[in-house]
Amino acid sequence: MKKDEIKSAIIKTILKVAPDIEEDEIELDANIQRSLEIDSFDFLKILTSMNEEFGVEVPEADYSKVDTLENMANYFLERL
């Protein structure tokens, strides 16, 4: 799977969890939680959803590695 595909999958998931966010609000290098006002619950949902899609578990210790769209995409790319 290509990084771009992963990215668009992540974006799709974010939009599903927070339907009121516009796609162009999601920036590549911005902190997902802070820039999109996504709280810990929604963030957990996103990760749960990604886990269902890619089968990759993100341990709590790795949360700092999935803080931006770019980082999250890389994180999954490495583990797929």
Binding site: D39, F41, T48
Partner: protein, 385 residues
């Protein structure tokens, strides 16, 4: 139309989920209504049969408007007994009419608020929901309205559905200002070392799949609930000039809506939920809140409010009590701070917990006791399981 909140005047009946003739069970959702706070489900409080839907879909109804006639099982029996009498029963439908009216009348009577004309006028101007004011000597008068709204700017009248956000802000403003004016608040705060709790969670979550993970906020709520069990004076209401302690614990959880606005639906029966259940129902409550699918009981049953603005990085939260509740617990952001333990100074995860209490019901001593208990549980997180 049930009143679902202190600041609700009316709502639009969006959809009937039952039709005439359907049997309904207590607690069943029979309709969805759109309020200034979003779509809310209406539940039924008795077993029975839907006899008549009195309001069409998409109708704006004032609080107190009868929406449907539900003939409860017990009543039907009564009617049967009546029919045994040798009275002409040719047209039973006609016989039912007056019963409907009678019940409708009764509903209206029950929700009728005695209020002086000038007080009503001022309340309307200032968007104060008079149904939530406790009358003094059976009557609401101007002075009471004015004490409530002293600090509120007169909001513009906003009625259209499009301006929901505005009307919600207005509702919050009114409730909050009313609270400030009516309730003598006292505030307490304490810093809690969260390192033990977070370490405990880390260990716990390591074993779990993402789905089963517990978020710190769930642990915190669990802590608050257990602390309330030990200091129950803060859980309940101030009604009719007296202090009512609630046995059930239904904390209202402040949930920010991304589109703006804040709701505090109740996490029902939190006292009977363990940590996992707390996490699960919290997750469910949050998604339903944001999806506009709250139930009426969740809108009305709160016994205390918990505000957690930690996600937004706010360090301490001094809440304003929602009348007729007795307290607001504020949980701030967990941040790294120097922490002294004995002679040692080290960096710890620290959270500021605050308590705003109604001075008419409790005093600072009770509040301090509560914060102490909360701290105790968070230092011994295994007790929160």
């Amino acid at each position: 139309m049930p009143s679902l909140g202190a600041d609700m005047e009316s709502a639009i009946l969006m959809e009937w989920l039952v039709k005439e003739g359907d049997s309904v069970k207590k607690g069943q959702i029979i309709a969805e209504v759109e309020t200034s706070k979003g779509v809310i489900e209406i539940e039924v409080f008795e077993d029975g049969v839907v006899e008549k839907l009195l309001v069409e879909e998409e109708t704006d109804c004032k609080v107190g408007t009868p929406l449907a006639m539900i003939k409860s099982d017990s009543k039907e029996k009564k009617e049967e007994v009546l029919k045994v009498e040798p009275v002409e029963v040719k047209e039973p439908e006609i016989k039912k009419e007056p019963i409907i009216e009678k019940q409708a009348e009764k509903i209206e009577q029950d929700t009728r608020v005695k209020i002086s004309p000038i007080a009503r006028k001022r309340a309307e101007e200032l968007s104060v929901d008079i149904t939530k004011i406790i009358p003094k000597d059976g009557l609401i008068q101007l002075a009471q309205i004015e004490s409530i709204v002293q600090k509120i700017e007169v909001p513009k009248k906003v009625d259209s559905k499009r301006d929901q956000k505005d009307s919600m802000r207005k509702a919050i403003a009114v409730a909050m200002s009313r609270s400030n004016a009516e309730i003598p608040h006292y505030y307490l705060s304490t810093s809690i070392n969260m390192t033990p709790a977070l370490n405990y969670l880390e260990v716990l979550n390591k074993e779990r799949t993402i789905k089963q993970r517990i978020l710190p906020v769930a642990l915190l709520i669990r802590g608050v609930v257990l602390a309330l069990k030990e200091v129950p004076q803060l859980n309940g209401f101030w009604l009719d000039d007296s202090h009512h302690i609630s046995e059930e614990i239904h904390p209202g959880i402040a949930i920010a809506l991304r589109k703006g606005g804040l709701m505090t639906p109740a996490l029902l029966d939190a006292g009977e939920k363990n940590l996992n259940e707390t996490m699960e129902s919290l997750s469910d409550l949050i998604s339903r809140t944001r999806g506009g699918k709250l139930r009426s009981s969740e809108m009305t049953k709160q016994t205390i409010t918990i505000t957690n603005l930690g996600d937004l990085g706010v360090e301490s939260v001094y809440g304003v009590i929602y009348p007729p509740q007795l307290a607001v617990v504020g949980l701030g952001a967990i941040i790294d701070k120097p922490w002294a333990e004995g002679d040692t100074l080290s960096v710890r995860k620290v959270m500021k917990a605050t308590l705003a209490g109604d001075h008419r019901a409790t005093d600072g001593r009770v509040g301090a006791l509560f914060l102490e208990k909360l701290n105790k549980f968070l230092q011994n997180p295994e007790e929160l399981l």
